[in-house]
C-alpha cells in the first residue's frame, strides 16, 4: 500500500469493554485517501468495534481504548468528540440502522446535515441527491422513521451520513437487510462518490463478494486481530478467502441445500 | 474530669424545615453555652451532641439510637418533630430517657401516669386550641357572643392539623359557633381554592393551623383574595418570623399564638454579649437572636436546666444526674415568676409547674401580632382556655392508649 499516504490510520489499538472483555487485540489498518477499504471478518471478530473506535463512539458503550492511537489526516483523533470528527469530514453509518424513530425520514436526513452551515438551497440539493439515490425514501419522506421497513431505515441511515458531505465514511454493514438490487446500487453509489468526489471509505461488510468487488484493499479480522491484508483482488484469489468468505471451493459454488456438514473454518491464528 | 450532663439533640438544619430547626436548636445551644460559661449547673457542665435528622422519622430514630449511648448516656432528648417523636416514643421508658415535646406532639402525653417519660411542656395543642377560642370569644366581647359566628379551621392535612379537632368541635357545640374545616394538602404551596372557599364562607375568624411553607402561602393568598389578615389567627407554628418575613407587608395585622412574649430580655442581652460578640454564637445570623424560634429554643433549654437544678436539689448538688432523675426533675418543675426573674427571662414564658398528672405544666399562651417588622404581644396577660374540657379529653385518650398498650397508669417514683 504505497499508492497514497494514509488518510486514516489505526495503529495497534486495543479495546476493552466493561473493564474486563478484551475485544481488539492490537488492530492496525490504513485507509489511503480516495480509496475504498473493506474490513472483513466473521461475527464478533470486532469490525464494528474497530469502526466505533475510529469514530470515538465507543465511549458511550463502556468500551475503553487501552492502547494505540487513531490518526485522521495526519492528526490524532482519539480524544476528539464525534461531533468534531463529523466536522472534519469523518462520518459513520452505524450498524443496526439507528434511525431517529420519532423523526420523519426527511427530518432524519436533515439532522445528517447538522454540522453543515449551508444555505437552504444547497441543503435541498443534497436532499435531492439522496432521494435520487434512494427513490424509496422520497416516497416515505414524511413517515416517521420508526414505522418504516427495515430496509428503508437502512437507506435512511446511509442517506443521513451522506448529508454531511463527508470526505471519509465508515460504513458498518450497509448491505444488511437490503434487497440485492439496492445492494448493487449502494455499492454503485460508494464507487460513484469515491471516484467523482474522492470520498474514502472504510466498510465493514459480511457480503464479502460484493465488498471485495468494489474495494481497493481489504483487511480480514479474526478474534480482534488482523490476520490478513492485501489488495482486494489478491484477497479474492486467496484459496482460504474463497472457501470461507466467498463460499466457493475448488469445485465451484455449492448449493446451500447441500451443505451436509457444518463446516468449521480453519483459524489463521489462535 | 468534672461531671457533664449530656443531652441528645436530634436536630435538623437542612431540608424543608431547616429554618425552624436552626433557630430552635440555635437557641438551645446558645443557652447551654451561656450556662456553661457561668460554670454550669452547680458546677455540672452541659454537653450535647447534634445529629441531622432532616425531619425524617427513620433518620431520627437512628440519631436517637446513636446519641443515646454516647458520653455515658443521654439524659434528655428533644427532636422537635412529631414523626421522630413517635418513632422513639416506645423506646423512652425502656431506655429511661425523658423526652420533651415543647409545643407539639400528642396532647394526651401530658398524662404522666401513662407517659412517664414524655413531657409536652408549656402547652399542648389542645390547650392551645381552647385558648384560641377563648381569645376569640374575648375579642368578640364574651364567649356568649361566639354564638352564630363562623370560624374556619384551615389546617395542615396531617396528624398535626387534625390534633385540635376534638377540642374545637366540642367548643363549637358548647358555644354555638359554626366550625368550618378546610384542609390543605401538605406542603401547601398552593391554596387558591381554599381561600376562595374561605372568602365565599365569609367567616368571622380563620384559625390557621399551618406548618412550614404553608403559612406564608396562606397569608399571601389571603392577601391576593383580599381577605383581611386581622381575622386570621395562627397556631404557634404559624407565628414566627419565618412565616411572616417572606410575605412582606401581606402579614401586617396577622396574629398568632405564642408561648413566648416577644421582646427583649436580659438573657438575650447576655447571649448577644457573651456569645455572639465573642464569636461563639450558634446561629449564623445574629439578627435572629430573640426571634420566635430562637426564643423557643432558649425557653426549652431553660426548662431543662431548671429540671436539672430541681433534680440536683433532690439527688445531690453538683452531681451528674441520670435520665430517671432528670425525669423526676421535669416532673417536679416549678419555674415561677421569681425563678424567671433570677434567670433574666421574666415574662418571656408562662409559669411552668409540672406534676405527675400534668406533664404540661402550664397551658397558658399569648397572642402576638405582626406589625410588618416584628411580632408584638397584643394580650398583656397569659390566656388559658377551658382546661376542664381538655383534661377530660386527655383522660379519655390516654386511657385508650394505655388500654391498647396494656399499660397500668401509675405515677413513676
Amino acid at each position: 500500500m504505497t499508492t497514497a499516504a494514509p488518510y486514516l490510520s489505526v495503529n495497534n489499538v486495543e479495546v476493552i469493554y466493561d473493564h474486563v472483555i478484551l475485544v481488539l487485540k492490537g488492530v492496525s489498518l490504513q485507509v489511503p485517501q480516495g480509496k475504498i477499504v473493506a474490513l472483513l471478518g466473521a461475527n464478533g471478530a470486532g469490525k464494528s468495534t474497530t469502526l466505533k473506535t475510529i469514530s470515538t463512539l465507543l465511549r458511550g458503550e463502556r468500551g475503553d481504548v487501552t492502547k494505540g492511537e487513531v490518526q485522521f489526516k495526519g492528526e490524532r483523533i482519539d480524544q476528539l468528540t464525534p461531533n468534531e470528527l463529523v466536522r472534519r469530514g469523518l462520518s459513520q453509518v452505524m450498524e443496526g440502522r439507528h434511525c431517529f424513530g420519532h423523526l420523519t425520514i426527511e427530518e432524519n436526513l436533515l439532522t445528517g446535515a447538522y454540522t453543515r452551515s449551508t444555505s437552504r438551497s444547497e441543503l435541498k440539493a443534497s436532499l435531492e441527491k439522496v432521494y435520487h439515490y434512494f427513490p424509496r425514501l422520497r416516497e416515505r419522506r414524511s413517515s416517521q422513521a420508526g414505522y418504516t421497513s427495515g430496509g428503508e431505515q437502512q437507506m435512511c441511515a446511509i442517506g443521513r451520513a451522506l448529508m454531511a458531505k463527508p470526505s471519509m465514511i465508515l460504513l458498518d454493514e450497509p448491505s444488511m437487510g437490503i434487497a440485492p438490487q439496492i445492494v448493487e446500487e449502494i455499492f454503485g453509489i460508494v464507487k460513484d462518490l469515491n471516484s467523482k468526489e474522492n470520498v474514502s471509505f472504510l466498510l465493514a461488510e459480511q457480503n464479502t463478494s460484493i465488498a471485495l468487488r468494489y474495494a481497493d484493499f481489504g483487511y480480514i479480522l479474526e478474534n480482534g486481530r488482523v490476520v490478513m491484508e492485501g489488495a482486494a483482488a489478491d484477497l479474492s484469489c486467496n484459496e482460504d478467502v474463497k472457501e470461507f468468505y466467498l463460499g466457493v471451493s475448488g469445485a465451484g459454488r455449492k448449493s446451500f441445500r447441500d451443505m451436509k456438514f457444518y463446516r468449521r473454518r480453519k483459524r489463521w491464528l489462535a | 474530669q468534672p461531671a457533664e450532663q449530656y443531652i441528645a439533640l436530634p436536630s435538623y438544619r437542612v431540608g424543608p424545615y431547616a429554618a425552624g430547626g436552626s433557630g430552635f436548636y440555635g437557641g438551645i445551644i446558645d443557652y447551654f453555652n451561656l450556662v456553661n460559661l457561668s460554670g454550669g449547673v452547680n458546677g455540672v457542665k452541659i454537653s450535647w451532641e447534634e445529629c441531622e435528622t432532616e425531619y425524617n422519622p427513620s433518620r431520627g430514630v437512628e440519631c436517637y439510637e446513636r446519641l443515646k449511648t454516647k458520653n455515658g448516656g443521654a439524659t434528655l432528648v428533644e427532636p422537635l418533630s412529631t414523626g421522630v417523636a413517635y418513632g422513639i416514643l416506645d423506646r423512652l421508658a425502656v431506655d429511661k430517657i425523658p423526652m420533651t415535646m415543647i409545643g407539639y406532639g400528642r396532647s394526651d402525653a401530658a398524662n404522666g401516669k401513662v407517659f412517664p417519660y414524655v413531657f409536652p411542656l408549656i402547652t399542648s395543642y389542645w390547650n392551645q386550641a381552647a385558648a384560641m377560642i377563648k381569645y376569640l370569644g374575648d375579642k368578640e366581647g364574651g364567649m356568649a357572643k361566639l354564638k352564630g359566628k363562623k370560624i374556619v379551621h384551615l389546617y395542615h392535612d396531617s396528624a398535626f392539623g387534625k390534633e385540635p379537632l376534638p377540642v374545637l368541635e366540642a367548643l363549637s357545640k358548647q358555644y354555638g359557633f359554626e366550625l368550618i374545616k378546610i384542609p390543605v394538602t401538605p406542603p401547601g404551596s398552593e391554596q387558591q381554592s381554599q381561600w376562595l372557599q374561605i372568602r365565599q364562607a365569609k367567616p368571622d375568624h380563620v384559625i390557621l393551623w399551618g406548618w412550614g411553607s404553608m403559612n406564608a402561602v396562606a397569608i399571601k393568598t389571603a392577601q391576593r383574595n383580599g381577605f383581611p389578615r386581622e381575622k386570621i389567627l395562627g397556631v404557634w407554628w404559624a407565628g414566627s418570623e419565618e412565616d411572616t418575613v417572606p410575605t412582606g407587608d401581606a402579614a401586617k395585622g396577622y396574629s398568632a399564638m405564642t408561648f413566648n412574649t416577644p421582646g427583649n430580655y436580659p438573657v438575650m442581652d447576655e447571649i448577644r454579649k457573651k456569645l455572639y460578640d465573642a464569636g461563639k454564637g450558634n446561629m449564623a445570623d445574629p439578627a435572629r437572636i430573640g426571634s420566635v424560634y430562637h426564643m423557643r429554643g432558649v425557653s426549652a433549654a431553660i426548662l431543662w436546666v431548671e429540671a436539672m437544678r430541681t433534680a440536683q436539689e433532690k439527688f445531690g448538688k453538683g452531681k451528674r444526674i441520670t435520665g430517671e432523675q432528670m425525669r423526676w426533675g421535669l416532673e417536679n418543675l416549678n419555674v415561677d415568676e421569681s425563678r424567671q426573674k433570677a434567670i433574666g427571662v421574666f415574662g418571656m414564658l408562662p409559669v411552668v409547674k409540672t406534676s405527675c398528672d400534668d406533664h404540661e405544666g402550664s397551658g397558658a399562651v399569648k397572642v402576638q401580632q405582626w406589625d410588618g417588622k416584628k411580632w408584638n404581644a397584643i394580650t398583656p396577660n397569659w390566656i388559658v382556655g377551658d382546661k376542664a374540657l381538655t383534661r377530660k379529653l386527655l383522660e379519655e385518650s390516654s386511657a385508650a392508649y394505655a388500654a391498647e398498650k396494656k399499660i397500668t397508669p401509675a405515677c413513676a417514683k
Partner: protein
C-alpha cells in the same frame, strides 16, 4: 352570585395553572434534550431564587443587579452539570440519568443552603400580589395582578422556546438526541454543547419560576416541592411539548381548584394532592403520551 364564584374559582385555577406550567417548562426542556426526567428541577428553582435574594442580601444590591448575576450563576451551573455529570453518562439507560439528576438535586440543595443559609427569605418583585382593582370594580371578579404578570411571563417564555424548538435545526437535533444518543453523536450533533446550552436555559427558566414562586411563597426550601405540582401538568400535556406544558397547566390548575371547591367538601377535602394525578392518569388511559407528547413507537 353562584356563577360569579364559579368563575373566580375557574380563573384562579387557570392562573395557578400558569404557575405550574412555568415549572413544567423546565422539565420539558431537559426531557426534550435527553429523554430524561430531571429530578433536580425543583432544586434548581430553589437554588436560583435563593441565589438571587442571597446576592441581594450579601452584596446589598438591588434586584436589577442581582438578576444578571444570578443568570450568570445559572449558566455556569448548567455548564458545570453538563461537564461533570452528563458527559460521562452519555448513552446510559434513562433510569441512570434520572438517578444522576437525583444526586444532583441533593448536591444543589446542599450547595444553596451552604452558601446562603437555610432561613426563609423575602423576595419582593416590583409588582404586588393584590387583586386587580379594575376587574374588581367593574366585573366583581377577583384576579391578582401578580398572576396576570406571571401569565404574561409564562406565555412569553413558552412562545419563544416553542419557536426556537419547533422548526429550527436545534429543535430537530433535540428530538434526535432524545431518540438515540449514540446515533445523534454519529451524525455530528454536538451533544455536549446542546446539553450545556439547554441546562443553562433550564437554569434560567428555573430562575424565572423561582422568582415568581419565591415572591409568592417566600424563598425557602419548600420551593423544591413546586415540582410536584408540575408533574401532573407534564404527564397531561406530554413530556416533550412546550404548548403541552401550558395547556396541561391550565387544565390541571382549573380542574383541581374546581374539584377542591365542589367535590372536596363531600369527601373531607384535601383532594388537591392527588386529584390532578388521578385526572392525568385517567387522561393517559386514553392518550398514553399525553396531549401533545410524541407518540411512543412500539413496533417489531
Amino acid at each position: 352570585m353562584f356563577m360569579n364564584f364559579f368563575f373566580e374559582v375557574l380563573i384562579g385555577g387557570l392562573l395557578s395553572g400558569v404557575m405550574y406550567a412555568l415549572v413544567a417548562i423546565g422539565f420539558v426542556l431537559i426531557y426534550k434534550a435527553s429523554g430524561v426526567f430531571n429530578f433536580a428541577q425543583g432544586a434548581m428553582v430553589y437554588f436560583a431564587a435563593l441565589t438571587c435574594v442571597g446576592v441581594m442580601d450579601k452584596l446589598g444590591v438591588s434586584l436589577w443587579i442581582a438578576l444578571p448575576i444570578t443568570v450568570a450563576v445559572m449558566i455556569v451551573l448548567g455548564l458545570a452539570i453538563e461537564r461533570v455529570v452528563l458527559r460521562p453518562l452519555v448513552n446510559q439507560p434513562e433510569i441512570t440519568l434520572f438517578m444522576a439528576t437525583i444526586g444532583l438535586a441533593f448536591f444543589i440543595e446542599g450547595l444553596a443552603q451552604l452558601m446562603f443559609g437555610a432561613q426563609v427569605r423575602k423576595l419582593e418583585l416590583p409588582i404586588e400580589d393584590v387583586p386587580w382593582q379594575y376587574l374588581m370594580d367593574h366585573y366583581n371578579i377577583l384576579v391578582s395582578q401578580f398572576d396576570i404578570m406571571a401569565a404574561a411571563v409564562c406565555g412569553l417564555l413558552v412562545t419563544s422556546l416553542a419557536l426556537l424548538f419547533s422548526k429550527t435545526k436545534i429543535g430537530r437535533a433535540l428530538r434526535a438526541v432524545a431518540d438515540d444518543h449514540q446515533a445523534a453523536l454519529a451524525v455530528g450533533i454536538p451533544l455536549q454543547r446542546i446539553w450545556a446550552v439547554l441546562w443553562a436555559v433550564a437554569g434560567i427558566v428555573a430562575l424565572v419560576a423561582g422568582l415568581l414562586w419565591g415572591a409568592r411563597n417566600g424563598v425557602q426550601f419548600a420551593l423544591t416541592f413546586v415540582a410536584l405540582k408540575a408533574l401532573p401538568v407534564l404527564i397531561l400535556g406530554g413530556f416533550t411539548s412546550m404548548p403541552g406544558a401550558i395547556v396541561g397547566g391550565l387544565i390541571i390548575g382549573a380542574s383541581e381548584k374546581l374539584a377542591e371547591v365542589y367535590i372536596g367538601p363531600m369527601v373531607g377535602g384535601g383532594i388537591e394532592g392527588w386529584f390532578p394525578y388521578v385526572l392525568a392518569l385517567l387522561f393517559l388511559l386514553v392518550r398514553p403520551e399525553g396531549l401533545f407528547g410524541e407518540k411512543i413507537i412500539r413496533r417489531i
